[in-house]
């Protein structure tokens, strides 16, 4: 068949397809029902025309034009769904805690890497107070002292609300930034995540130990107990996600390292979604609740304990099937 005949015969077909592709490429495309259903088969015919045109050495202009349509059609036909926004709620209720339980080996390692050095540093500083200066420079230490000195607190007067908003912004940008870095640096064979976890653990232990020596325990612990539940757990999870990347590179198993990394990242990034949500909650608590001086310490400890129980209970129990439910589901499938 001559090219002219070929074009005359089939041009209407690919013209229709081109209109469909243009419509699909718009963000508010109007394609519905039967029109949409016909797209896949039209696209496959187009691939056929493209292959024919190439094989018969029709002019490159025609081949390129059909090739361009094939690329655009492919992008529309195979575009992935965007489940993040649609499945947001089910992710929070079930998906995220399930994922955390599935990946708990990494979570336990990250938790150990944060808390064990922290605890050791805490005890070491109780024993040798000057050790705090191995971790933090003197001006930072005195800064911490000032922050938690009970004498500097004007009792009964809460911070003004606009200061709270300012601190909320600061916590958001600082804490989420830290957790993103803890996660991302895990791709360096896990070294980065380990470094950030251990370093943050040491700093935490040093500050806690130093303030305990200085007798500021009440102001310090009543401040951190509330948001610590969300914040520390989130840091552990982002560290765990980073460790997963590093582990995938170090021990790829039967995959190539790149393929193994790709598979691990798909899971790790979902942990990061959860971390972001938890850190926003933590920043909210830290800015508007923890800093409130009207509340008595026992009230803060009580609420703090409740929040810890909430976070742990959520991660351990949420999204599990109830016994009766799973039994009926099994019956249903039989």
């Amino acid at each position: 068949m001559k090219q002219g005949q070929f074009e005359q015969l089939y041009q209407p077909l690919w013209h229709v397809l081109e209109m469909q592709i243009v419509e699909l490429e718009k963000s508010d495309g109007q394609l519905k029902g039967d029109e949409l259903a016909s797209f896949a088969s039209r696209y496959r015919r187009l691939c056929h025309f493209h292959a024919l045109a190439r094989d018969r050495h029709y002019s490159s202009h025609l081949v390129d034009k059909l090739g361009d349509l094939v690329v655009r059609g492919h992008q529309q036909l195979y575009r992935r769904k965007q489940p993040f926004f649609q499945q947001f709620i089910s992710f929070i209720v079930a998906g995220f805690p399930r994922l955390v339980r599935e990946q708990q080996a990494y979570i336990w390692w990250a938790t150990a890497l944060l808390y064990v050095p922290g605890l050791l540093m805490f005890l070491a500083i109780l024993w040798q107070p000057d050790l705090v200066y191995t971790i933090a420079p003197p001006d930072q230490v005195s800064n911490f002292e000032e922050m938690y000195d009970p004498a500097n607190r004007t009792l009964g007067a809460a911070r003004e609300s606009d200061t709270n908003v300012q601190m909320f912004g600061y916590y958001i940008s600082n804490n989420i930034g830290v957790s993103f870095r803890t996660f991302a640096s895990g791709i360096l064979f896990g070294v980065g995540s380990i470094f950030f976890l251990v370093f943050n653990g040491l700093l935490m232990g040093a500050v806690a130990g130093h303030l305990t020596n200085a007798q500021f325990t009440e102001t310090f612990f009543s401040f951190v107990v509330g948001h610590g539940s969300f914040e520390l757990t989130a840091i552990c999870i982002s560290g765990a996600a980073g460790l997963k990347l590093g582990h995938a590179l170090l021990a790829p198993g039967n995959f190539t390292r790149v393929e193994s990394l790709k598979r691990a990242s798909k899971i790790a990034i979902q942990l990061v979604y959860g971390v972001i949500i938890m850190l926003v909650i933590a920043a909210f608590i830290e800015a508007f609740w923890s800093s409130n001086n009207i509340l008595l310490p026992w009230q803060k400890y009580l609420v703090g304990g409740f929040l810890w129980a909430l976070v742990i209970g959520y991660l351990v129990f949420s999204g599990r099937q109830l016994r009766g439910e799973s039994a009926s589901a099994e019956r249903g499938s039989l």
Binding site: A51, H61, Y78, Q82, A184
Partner: protein, 225 residues
């Protein structure tokens, strides 16, 4: 054989998608543009919101945080893989199966940007991108994404010559493309250089004036008189 970085991706239908990965040079230029845009927006945010006192500073911190981490994610997902800088340089991000990038991979590659930046000026990313054929930095490797050049839009050709001449039947598609490319580029070549190039084909096409003959063949290919 053409010396270029073009990659062909085979689809389930057996069609070959041509994708041209973008190297670090053009990507760094795009990144510089994005940084300048972000810097401009940040400055405006701080100037405007500082009028609102401490509350304004809090809001400014949140906005700049979002701008730092989610600016590329937003544009890549909403604008079909193109941040303003990338759009300007004519490149975009796709999944490595050629489909438009989605939220997860986009967030992943942009979080891992901090590692690619290490120790300075994207050195890790540049080295990583030189070690594979698709110029993927670490973030792209993990996310399964790649940066490609936008296909140039098909032009309406005109070769300043009238009349048609049949193309010799044994010219392959690539050889036909070479003829077309010659006809298109001839605007930028001197008459002497045109005839010098066209004379190479004289033994094959036996024309009176090879330059005009090739342009007439090009007319035939694009269906022009």
């Amino acid at each position: 054989m053409l010396l270029d970085t073009r990659q062909s991706l085979e689809t389930p239908e057996g069609a070959l998608l041509p994708l041209t990965p973008a190297g670090f040079g053009v990507r760094i230029l795009a990144q510089i543009l994005d940084i300048l845009i972000r810097f401009g927006i940040t400055t405006v945010i701080f100037i405007v919101l500082s009028l609102l006192g401490r509350m304004g500073m809090g809001m400014a911190l949140i906005l700049t945080f979002l701008l730092e981490w989610f600016y590329p994610v937003f544009f890549e997902v909403a604008r079909n893989g193109r941040t303003p800088g990338k759009k300007w340089m004519g490149i975009r991000v796709v999944n490595d199966d050629g489909t438009p990038i989605t939220f997860g991979p986009s967030l992943l590659r942009n979080l891992l940007r901090v590692v690619d930046f290490l120790p300075m000026a994207y050195l890790t990313g540049i080295i990583a991108s030189l070690c594979n054929r698709q110029f993927k930095r670490l973030g792209d490797l993990a996310a399964g994404s790649m940066v490609i050049y936008d296909a140039p839009p098909l032009r309406e050709p005109s070769f300043e010559v009238r009349g048609q001449l049949p193309v010799p039947a044994d010219f392959s598609t690539d050889e036909q493309r070479a003829l077309l490319a010659f006809a298109e580029r001839s605007k930028y070549l001197s008459a002497e250089r045109q005839s010098e190039l066209a004379t190479i084909l004289q033994p094959v096409i036996h024309a009176k004036d090879p330059v005009i003959a090739i342009k007439q063949m090009a007319n035939t290919m694009v269906g022009k008189q």
